[in-house]
Symmetry: C2
Subunit: 220 residues, 2 copies
């Protein structure tokens, strides 16, 4: 993890000179999200963000090298909202996190920004790493938590001990994550349909029992 000189790793206590204003940090990130809502990704400019934040454009470039990194940080904090309260059973936990993530993606700033930076990350390795540490890892924690919680309840088989078991467990985690997050993202952004309670039930049913077991449930 290379500690760039960008943004606030920590105020570096033994540091001389005028410190960076954290208020300015927040103002910039907030202005970025607001501009994202109004203008979308393509219409977003550094000048616009600077103007909205009441800050000189040079101040932006002292903290972020380009638009991509700025937007990642601006959006990343939104993912802190994600939580996984214990709802008693695996099905309820999944439905809960699906609706949460769906609501997060329904917000115009995340909707617009997330796919754009992911697209850019395909040709920018540093950006990909920033996205991973700032966003993806936070989501994955939830998957891990939900899975181990279900294992404690006996709803899922415990991991096979040993190196091989750890590998398959990791693979399963990755698969689960891609399926859940991918479906929600695709539903929201590509299909353009809302992730509501009904869809959350349908998805969870498919996810838990598979395609074969689908449609055997209640009609409502």
């Amino acid at each position: 993890m290379v500690a760039r000189m960008h943004h606030s790793a920590s105020p570096r206590k033994g540091r001389t000179g005028r410190p960076r204003s954290v208020e300015t940090d927040h103002a910039i990130l907030h202005a970025t999200r607001a501009a994202l809502v109004d203008l979308g990704w393509g219409g977003l400019t550094m000048s616009e963000v600077a103007a909205r934040a009441g800050v000189a454009k040079t101040t932006l470039y002292r903290r972020w090298a380009n638009k991509n990194e700025l937007v990642v940080d601006a959006v990343a904090v939104l993912f802190d909202e994600l939580e996984l309260p214990d709802r008693g059973c695996l099905q309820a936990d999944i439905e809960g996190v699906v609706l949460q993530f769906g609501a997060l993606l329904a917000r115009p700033e995340t909707k617009t920004a997330l796919m754009a930076v992911v697209a850019e990350s395909t040709t920018d390795e540093a950006l990909r790493e920033r996205i991973r540490s700032a966003i993806v890892d936070r989501q994955k924690r939830l998957v891990q938590l939900g899975r181990s919680r279900a294992q404690e309840r006996g709803e899922l088989p415990a991991d096979t001990p040993g190196e091989e078991g750890a590998r398959t467990a990791a693979r399963t985690m990755d698969l689960i994550f891609d399926v859940i997050a991918g479906a929600i993202v695709h539903r929201t952004l590509v299909s353009g349909e809302p992730v509501d309670a009904a869809w959350g039930r349908d998805f969870t049913a498919l996810f838990l029992t598979g395609l074969a077991g689908l449609g055997d449930g209640e009609p409502g």
Copy 2:
């Protein structure tokens, strides 16, 4: 479906004047994909595409209003490759289409372009519609085909007749589509991992039998 005057709806036989060159069409779309590979979405410019295609920049703007629409059309033809040969059983059919779609998304031009235009489409309704008709609908046809094929085999229950049954069938189709496509896209673009045979098997198992039935299969 508003018929824009853009690109080639059809040569309009009873039309006077010099016709548009279809070679120029292809040259531009090909140049767009090539430039996308080399420069990525952010680095792509209309001037660059025009130069690569050996065409005046004005010719580009006579056919496409902006970068987004050009890229959608340039990438859309790649989705024509998708097919669904009958592999005998539902599981094999799914694994096949998963690998196909994964291979398509592994190509740098699709990888880079797809998410970018989807991101833009969140603030551009016309672009969204263009994506839907040019890309999404082609994929959805495969889902429909695979499902009805499985129903004929008796692997899936037939649709309930009547209006209500049609609605739930449509909902199920949408759900299936979002889950499959979403997982592949997420795996490829966000997680940055390949959609290979092993992952295809794992995903299909999860998709068919659900999370509960996962891990009971063969260890290899």
